[in-house]
């Protein structure tokens, strides 16, 4: 399969300013040297706790934030270097769905107007063509044609998220960044949205960058999953593999901390001590060593690189995969 999106050595540091002169006193390394690829028609899940930088990556991919360094190659074109008209044209191919469907839809526009806006912006066609496309899209996201005249407040949370998805899909993008699309929704509604996203992918062959902290949802929808901790990707693998044989101790703890809705399921829970360290002052060496039970001397000194431990399974941990194999570079 071809790579649709390739992220290389992506970095984003947010400066911390203090004093009256607003001097930069330090940086929050929100995203620190991140590499991953998304293939055509694939869903790449990005998981991690709050503050790990997953949303920052999503925003950089759609250029709502500019990267400090690194490359975001979309079909081989570097998005970070695009400007003006070229960027506008590229935007058609990459769309985003936000977490909160209450905040992301303009309350003063009807659903029809919301759907038509991106079409007009990108000169889709005549008015009739736009109307026809809006009608078609309403059907695709399982809304009735009458809903075009309604305002966002008249819809429930799940319906609103479907409007947001329809709006993202209307320009036939190749990639949709879904930033926590189901976190604000109830269980029964979550299922509707996840099923819809899957159906749309099958029909339109669109790729997703699916950002979430809900592990089960990520597992359900993703083909491959990346786990982030303090601005770094610590593990990347196929979805089934990562949920069954994760190798990084952080991933293991994260997996075991999710309550399983089955009272008969016997599990060993790893409860991590302490909290995520301050990203302004991250620990030396492996950033996870302060909470890791298996941490040893090398973890405190050397930062582990992402290496391929098993085919297609990348881990950034000195101790993963043991058996004395030499570290290999991820790329």
């Amino acid at each position: 399969m071809e790579n649709l999106l390739e992220v290389k050595h992506l970095k984003k540091y947010f400066p911390i300013r203090a004093g009256i002169l607003k001097k930069t006193v330090g940086y929050v390394k929100a995203v620190d040297d991140v590499n991953f690829q998304i293939r055509q028609g694939e869903t790449f899940g990005l998981v991690g706790e709050s503050g790990c930088g997953k949303t920052t990556i999503g925003k950089m991919v759609v250029r709502l934030l500019n990267a400090d360094s690194g490359e975001i190659l979309f079909e081989g074109r570097d998005l970070t270097k695009l400007q003006g008209e070229a960027l506008r044209r590229e935007r058609k191919n990459i769309q985003i769905v936000f977490q909160d469907p209450f905040g992301s839809l303009n309350p003063q526009m009807t659903v029809g107007e919301l759907f038509a806006e991106p079409l007009k912006k990108h000169h889709y066609g005549t008015r009739q063509e736009i109307d026809a496309r809006v009608k078609e899209m309403l059907q695709v996201v399982r809304l009735s044609p009458l809903d075009a005249k309604k305002y966002p407040h008249e819809f429930s949370g799940g319906q609103r998220q479907r409007i947001a998805i329809g709006r993202a899909l209307i320009l036939n993008p190749k990639l949709i960044v879904c930033d926590e699309p189901v976190s604000a929704l109830d269980v029964s509604v979550q299922a509707q949205i996840l099923n819809l996203l899957k159906d749309l992918q099958e029909e339109y062959k669109v790729s997703y960058l699916f950002i979430a902290h809900g592990m089960a949802a990520v597992k359900h929808i993703s083909h491959r999953v990346g786990v982030m901790y303090l601005g770094k990707l610590v593990e990347i693998s196929d979805s089934d593999e990562i949920f069954e044989h994760c190798l990084h101790p952080y991933t293991q703890a994260l997996m075991s901390s999710i309550p399983i809705p089955d009272p008969f399921y016997d599990k060993k829970r790893i409860v991590l001590r302490g909290e995520v360290p301050n990203p302004i002052n991250p620990p030396s060496g492996c950033k996870f060593h302060t909470r890791c039970e298996r941490a040893c001397a090398i973890c405190r000194e050397q930062e582990p690189q992402l290496r391929e431990v098993l085919p297609g399974h990348f881990v950034a941990c000195h101790l993963a995969g043991e058996a004395g194999e030499g570290p290999k570079d991820a790329d």
Partner: protein, 334 residues
């Protein structure tokens, strides 16, 4: 027979808005037994938080109005919490029943130190000196696993992370050793690794002190891991009450079953999730008959017109569903 700590009988609550009365709770009946961990599950708008706030009389009246029912402490008809005076209520809250909320940021006072807020509760409920209160507050902070409690005593809530704030909330709730702890979505705002810490902490304290805990949550995973019994609520009604093991092995209500199938699973493979059609009904426009009938896959004629009652279909297993009752061969009592 287990001892009853709180008995809720026919509780009905409504909200009055612009002259319209919208009923939120419909005849809620349940018992909380001493020493158990009980879970109330439901989606948003199912009435689970209103239930707990009515118990604590924390909903503002007006606009809310308790239409009827009793909340009996220790099942004693003379101790109806809903009839308590404000003074009695003050000693009831905190000493007998304490509560922790979802959002630890907004439930702590931002202009007072965490330590002060804990000692305040102690001074209010117990005749002790300020120094003694401080000593005990520090002890509580230590018990909930806060590092260097002496210095944290003087911290303001904004100086602490979400997980630490929730620990302070728990310390505050438990400082007067209440008999019942109501935890209203205690971990929803927290990250999974911190959620695991908080659930473990509440579990440990519950075992150590023999406390009773009532979890209010939308997460069936939390219920499966922490609770012994669970109540499933939908549209202001109790739909099913059962032991957690029975509930997950053989859910009797189609709604419970749907909820379980709709959850994506970590350890099972499935291509499509089960979909409960439609949305949670609006309280102003409740459907006739069973509140769930228009989303129910097993809807029958009777469901559209007549409201089923909560009926016992097995040991400690009650359900509000015509079909489940027929299947269990129960006499229909309306």
């Amino acid at each position: 027979m287990k001892d009853i700590l709180i008995q809720v009988k026919n509780l009905s609550t409504a909200f009055r808005e612009e002259g319209r009365v919208t009923q939120i709770l419909y005849d809620v009946n349940f018992n909380i037994y001493k020493g158990e961990v009980l879970g109330i599950v439901g989606e948003s708008g199912s009435g689970k938080s209103v239930t707990s706030k009515t118990l604590m009389r924390l909903i503002p009246e007006p606009p809310a109005q308790i239409l009827g029912g009793e909340v009996l402490f220790e099942g004693d008809p003379n101790q109806n919490v809903l009839k308590y005076t404000e003074n009695q209520m003050c000693s009831f809250r905190g000493e007998k029943v304490a509560m922790i909320f979802q959002e630890p940021m907004t439930s702590l006072n931002p202009v007072l130190t965490c330590g002060y807020q804990i000692s305040e509760a102690l001074l209010l409920h117990q005749k002790i000196t300020k120094a003694e209160a401080k000593r005990r507050a520090i002890h509580m902070l230590k018990m909930v696993g806060i590092q260097s409690p002496e210095s944290r005593y003087n911290c303001y809530p904004h100086e602490l992370s979400g997980g630490m704030r929730q620990r302070v909330m728990i310390a505050m709730a438990l400082c007067c050793s209440p008999e019942l702890l109501i935890a209203d979505e205690p971990t929803t705002a927290l990250d999974p690794t911190i959620q695991a810490q908080i659930l473990e902490l509440i579990g440990d304290l519950q075992k150590k002190n023999g406390m009773t805990v009532m979890y209010i949550t939308h997460d069936l995973g939390v219920v499966a891991e922490t609770c012994q019994r669970a109540i499933v609520m939908y549209a202001g009604r109790i739909m099913e009450v059962a032991k957690v093991t029975d509930l997950f092995r053989s859910p009797a209500h189609p709604y419970t079953e749907g909820l379980m199938k709709a959850m994506p699973k970590l350890h099972e493979k499935c291509d499509r999730l089960y979909n409960i059609e439609g949305n949670v009904p609006n309280f102003a426009q409740m459907p006739q008959g069973c509140a769930f009938h228009d989303r129910c896959p097993d809807c029958m004629e009777i469901c559209k017109t007549q409201q089923p009652q909560l009926v016992e279909i097995g040991e400690e297993h009650q359900v509000r569903c015509w079909k489940a009752q027929q299947a269990a061969g129960c006499a229909q009592g309306v």
